[in-house]
């Protein structure tokens, strides 16, 4: 047990593990990004570059991965926490320690998916508890069930991290310090090629078959014109916006006029500004705390809108009946679009049009999730993550700050989103039917394609072959040995040929062969270790 961590460090890392997932579920602060958690753990165990290196690689592997509709994805955050903690104890050189840390982090991330499923199922108990509280008309218990819904989430991360770091770090050291040289080399190569998985997954979500030309533009700017990544991102935005402003738009406005023409009786509203602010904060800070498989964000939504309902329905029976009405399945993007729907529904409840409000919720949650998943999951987050990951791999803490900043931006803009929804009310339907969503999604996905064209070769530039062909040639009667680097030949045909081939191979396996992400991950890990060990890559 020598060389392990004390109970204190284990406890600090466990508390961080608890906080990071709650911060993501609640206000969507991105402490949970691998690069941020890697930095924190690196600072705690006294090896920041290691934490950034492991976190940065995992950050790049998670491009395009987002829990769409509550699907479980590998928990690279916990992987980064445990991997960094374990590798920091080793006596290995920095690059070798990073490879060893990744070798720990990847299996940990995969194992944690089981616990993610468990926490998403256990929270179901809390929504049933809340159902009973509504039946018994017990407001305090109802709030409690929502707020304590965070327990399965936080503990499912904190407990395994605590025991892994406390009990596991010592024994694993023996293994880490005795990794043979060939395996260390193999693991290093694995680290280089794993980001291809993130890019491959991202491409399957993008309309590359239709708009491959945007991808080529990005690639040409990076590979032939050597434009820096920020320049490519700006050019992408400009080109894409010009393209879509030239394209005619189809609208369905007339129909929308009819649907939204429902008469509204002007009545003196019992809802104060303070009630709205309270509801808004509840929504923006806690919506997903009690997220569960059965009804997803329903409990958080009901708890958030409760202050409005209380004023609109002063009679106890009516209030709880209204609360019950909101305890039905609900799920949309928590910070892009979600606050707009919530704001609009608050306005409709205030105007005593619950039926219209319910219909609005049901019909808008899908479209808004589609925008949110595209704008955040496919465009904004991957762009930030690529910059963050590449900064971190160069040892700069700027990468971690960048992801934190993104989280705060998303959180901050939820407030104007809410007021926009509140002012629009049912008028939102007209906005949506103007084709705005399709345009936003088109702009986001084509810009993402353009940018990825430049980012892929940049991030995977380390995928190269050291192979050489030696041949004997006779020069002026003497036997001379000439060596030709295969990489040079590749570069003459097409720069960054190997990185492109790798990413499109991943894309092809996922999209055309319908391999699962896990299968591709295992293939890449095995291929990396073998090709690295034999010095082929």
């Amino acid at each position: 047990m020598a060389n392990g961590y004390g109970i204190g460090i284990a406890l600090i890392l466990a508390i961080w593990s608890y906080i990071q997932i709650i911060a993501l579920l609640g206000p969507a602060w991105l402490l949970s990004d691998p690069v941020v958690s890697g930095l924190f753990v690196g600072a705690v165990v006294g090896n920041i570059p290691l934490g950034l290196g492991i976190g940065g690689t995992l950050e790049l592997m998670s491009l395009g991965l987002w829990s769409y509709g509550g699907a479980t994805i590998p928990d690279y955050t916990t992987g980064a926490i445990v991997g960094t903690a374990f590798a920091a104890l080793s006596k290995l050189a920095p690059t070798e320690a990073m490879a060893a840390g990744l070798a720990v982090a990847v299996p940990v991330s995969l194992f944690m998916t089981q616990l993610d499923v468990l926490s998403r199922s256990l929270t179901t108990v809390f929504i049933h508890g809340a159902d009973r509280a509504v039946e018994k008309q017990d407001d305090a218990a109802f709030s409690g069930w929502h707020l304590w819904g965070q327990l399965p989430w936080g503990l499912s991360r904190a407990i395994p991290v605590f025991f892994a770091v406390w009990l596991g770090s010592g024994p694993i050291q023996v293994l880490i310090n005795n990794i043979p040289a060939w395996l260390t080399r193999g693991l290093g190569t694995m680290g280089h090629i794993l980001p291809a998985l993130g890019f491959g997954i991202l491409l399957t979500f993008l309309p590359i078959e239709k708009w491959w030309s945007f991808f080529v533009l990005g690639f040409v700017m990076f590979a032939y014109l050597n434009v820096p990544l920020v320049g490519i991102a700006l050019a992408a935005l400009a080109v894409v916006i010009i393209y879509f402003s030239l394209k005619p738009v189809q609208t369905g406005e007339q129909q929308a006029e009819e649907a939204t023409a429902a008469k509204v009786e002007e009545t003196k509203s019992p809802v104060t500004h303070g009630d709205l602010v309270k509801a808004m904060w509840r929504h923006n800070l806690t919506l997903q705390l009690s997220w569960n498989y059965e009804r997803m964000q329903a409990l958080g939504y009901a708890w958030s809108i409760a202050p409005i309902l209380k004023k609109v329905f002063p009679k106890k029976d009516e209030y709880f009946a209204a609360l019950k009405r909101h305890m039905v399945f609900y799920n949309t993007h928590p910070f892009v679009g979600g606050p707009v729907i919530f704001g609009a529904d608050c306005a409709l409840e205030e105007k005593r049009q619950p039926a219209v409000g319910d219909s609005l919720k049901v019909s808008l949650m899908g479209p808004f999730a589609a925008i949110g998943d595209t704008v955040n999951g496919i465009l904004v987050r991957p762009i930030f993550a690529v910059f963050a990951g590449s900064l971190a791999l160069r040892g700069s803490v700027g990468g971690a700050w960048l992801m934190l900043l993104l989280g705060f931006i998303w959180f901050y803009q939820e407030f104007p989103e809410f007021w926009l929804g509140y002012k629009q009310g049912l008028g939102l339907v007209r906005q949506v039917s103007s084709g705005a969503i399709t345009r936003i999604v088109d702009i986001a996905s084509t810009a993402a394609l353009f940018i990825m064209g430049g980012f892929i070769p940049s991030i995977l530039a380390g995928v190269k072959t050291p192979l050489e062909i030696t041949k004997h040639v006779m020069i002026e009667g003497k036997d001379v040995v000439q060596s030709v680097k295969i990489q040079d030949t590749f570069d003459k045909i097409l720069p960054y040929m190997l990185p492109l081939a790798l990413v499109f191979c991943v894309y092809w396996l996922l999209k055309k062969k319908h391999w699962t992400n896990l299968q591709v991950l295992l293939l890449l890990a095995a291929a990396g270790i073998i090709l690295g060990a034999f010095k082929i890559l």
Binding site: F205, G252, F329, S359, T438
Partner: protein
């Protein structure tokens, strides 16, 4: 090229647009459900969720008419039913999909349901409808995305004692 039947109470949603449309290579979406087609807001808003794919929101009868004018040999079409009964009505109306999947079935308040999987609630009536589809020789999978295991839903229903 083929028709694919997807059963999901959320209709067009992030999982559908981001993963399933790309998984099937769908070029067109048809949401066929009588209740949804009768709601003017849903009829207008749902097509906006489809990331630019042509989308129709129609009753089951109109959906079948629309489908009979299409050739599955030339178009990949994703047909979305809201629940088991809607799916069965489509199948009885002559729909011949290449595959049938259930993405999500949220419990409906006031009904007696069993959570067959954490994201799929089934009542006895639903179970009968799923079984009737199964009896037509189809395997119904309960996947949220292509990464989930392709289990056999009817078999699961039997294990849970719903059939």
């Amino acid at each position: 090229m083929a028709f694919f039947l997807h059963i999901d109470n959320r209709l067009i949603h992030g999982q559908v647009t981001v993963t399933w449309c790309s998984y099937y290579g769908a070029k067109r979406i048809i949401v066929a459900d009588d209740k949804v087609a009768a709601d003017p807001i849903q009829r207008i808003v749902l097509p906006q969720a489809a990331r630019g794919l042509p989308t129709s929101v129609v009753t089951i009868a109109d959906g079948l008419k629309l489908l009979s004018s299409m050739d599955p040999a030339h178009e990949n079409v994703l047909i979305i039913a809201r629940n088991a009964q809607g799916a069965l009505a489509l199948m009885e109306g002559g729909l011949k999909p290449k595959s049938i999947n259930v993405g999500n079935q949220a419990p409906v308040q006031g009904t007696k349901y069993v959570m067959v999987l954490p994201w799929i609630a089934v009542t006895r009536e639903d179970a009968e409808a799923f079984k009737a589809i199964g009896d037509m020789g189809y395997k119904i999978t309960p996947q949220r995305s292509g990464s989930d295991r392709a289990l056999d839903l009817v078999e699961l229903l039997r294990k849970k004692g719903l059939l």
